[in-house]
Symmetry: C2
Subunit: 368 residues, 2 copies
Amino acid sequence: MTRFGKQPERAIEELGREALLKALKDAGIQRRDVDEVFCGSLFGGTLIGQRILRDIGMTGIPITNIENACSSSSAALREACAAVAVGRAETVLVIGIDQLTRLGGGTIPLEKTDIEVNLGFAMPALYAMRARRYMHETGATSRHLAMVASKAHEAGALNPYAQFQNRLTPEEVLASRMIADPLTLYMCCPTGDGASAAVVTTQKRAEARGKPVRVAASTLQSGLYKTGFRDMATSELTVRTAKLAYEAAGIGPEDIDVAEIHDAFTSAEMMYYESLGFCGKGGALGMVERGDTGIDGAKPVNPSGGLLCRGHPVGATGVAQICEAVWQLRGEAGKHQVKGAKVALTHCTGGGISGLDHGACAVHILTT
Amino acid sequence: MTRFGKQPERAIEELGREALLKALKDAGIQRRDVDEVFCGSLFGGTLIGQRILRDIGMTGIPITNIENACSSSSAALREACAAVAVGRAETVLVIGIDQLTRLGGGTIPLEKTDIEVNLGFAMPALYAMRARRYMHETGATSRHLAMVASKAHEAGALNPYAQFQNRLTPEEVLASRMIADPLTLYMCCPTGDGASAAVVTTQKRAEARGKPVRVAASTLQSGLYKTGFRDMATSELTVRTAKLAYEAAGIGPEDIDVAEIHDAFTSAEMMYYESLGFCGKGGALGMVERGDTGIDGAKPVNPSGGLLCRGHPVGATGVAQICEAVWQLRGEAGKHQVKGAKVALTHCTGGGISGLDHGACAVHILTT
């Protein structure tokens, strides 16, 4: 992956090229070894995959672009796995990419036809409302939300690919300006630019590479958009998607050694600890207080710095989580390495249309 | 599918809903029978598939949006086939959709970073240049180009889903205003709105339905974007993609009873007769003169009216071709039925970036 961050001076295709070249080098393969490509992006524009690959002379192969909001490249990875599993391709390249600074300074164009969004129900407002409900139900405080951000910065400071590489105390997080009560600036992920890439291949080819990582589950679900009562303090979509992933992999949440989850806002990270089964309802408070989800904690979450610090160039995030998971499982994560990680979970969920739940949630489980 | 045409007063989601309800009814299945959905669109905006399905209560299943320019929904169909083949889903819904009238009156926003497009090398100019070269090499005249349009209108007049349902003589086509020499207005496909949908399932389930149509080949390729000499009068990309499709299906071009091909401009239709192997280089002239590709001809092409008359709401076209092919193979095409059709080919190619060849070409072969 590229380092994430604001890079408006670069062409988006150049970001993609940097990531894919690194992926090919890491996999020890040449351009001609790639049979097919999937590219996940939200704002990349038409034929983003073809535009990246054209620049690098990788032409004449099947290329398919996938858009699933924040889960765009996670969904692309799922199709790549299917292409290999069905025997259509032996080696598939997956790219995730977006360049949010080219959209006018970081404001994401929202869906014009969504009446709730037009009335102000943008992402920070949506997450803030759910955060308030979560605090009401569990007794979580703003300080818990700040501690999650502080933990993310602790990790980001160790990750050379992270957009933010500075440490912040909970007090500093609480003192940053209010975005949508109770969420202050540093409780929200930044906008930025970046690209990520991964190579998916058969077991045989991967084993020849030396340190293969297995995709034990690749699941995608969409929200229910039910009318009537909904539990705003739980992500039904994440619960359901994770359940399918655990079943597919034949493991449970207790087996996860390291997780990269969708912490677009710190309140969401706490809710997802519970939705992913890392603890029971309200259990996230204790996990945060004890530091369980720090790199050296009992259940390390987002050792990369997560969306909060590694950054969140929307389409690039899903595969960036995969990059981090692969490095962790190979023991190549450097200063932010989780010791002895053998099972990793990634969770990416996007598109808060209709206010209360997401359009596309992807959970992957990777094992050594 | 919906009727194609200018429908700016309808919400795009409503177009999609109409098409998908027709597809479910045709397949004799309920909403709950659908395991997974792919939606192909170029301009539909984020989570277009989720937005369509939310409106109809089809929630909580995997939904993936695919963008491959004109081939968006063809590429979506290919992923649907893979999802069934790999056993991930038993019944998959594929939607194609776009609403070009919502983009400011029919002008398609072109890729801002493509220097050639910015210098005026838009689609009509690109096709006109290739048409001139084709005329130079083969002796084709403007009258040939007009006859192709006239044939399309002859078919469109019989198709209740077509945007244009009027007959036009070659003289009327030649007399219409010049768009990009040698292409006059009626030699160019129109902009419009529409949606299409298809259901892909296992052989067993399809046979229970009564009139199953088999996907014998589903191929996708991208252009080569080579520098140096290129034969502008041949579509290397179409030749290559069709070759793979014929190999996969174990048949040759002589076995095709009916074809739906990407006649965005009449000159392209003639070139594709040759690229698809329906005749040798320059052979398209004779095919046009003899009327071979009319509905009752020796090699019927675009009995639907094609992009020229059925219309071309970009993302909707690929699956609309599939709808037509299925109706033809079932003998349900009504007034535009090709007698005894047992093997159909669809060809959709899109994204003329870098001037000379396309970003994504899809060829499908369907059989009874």
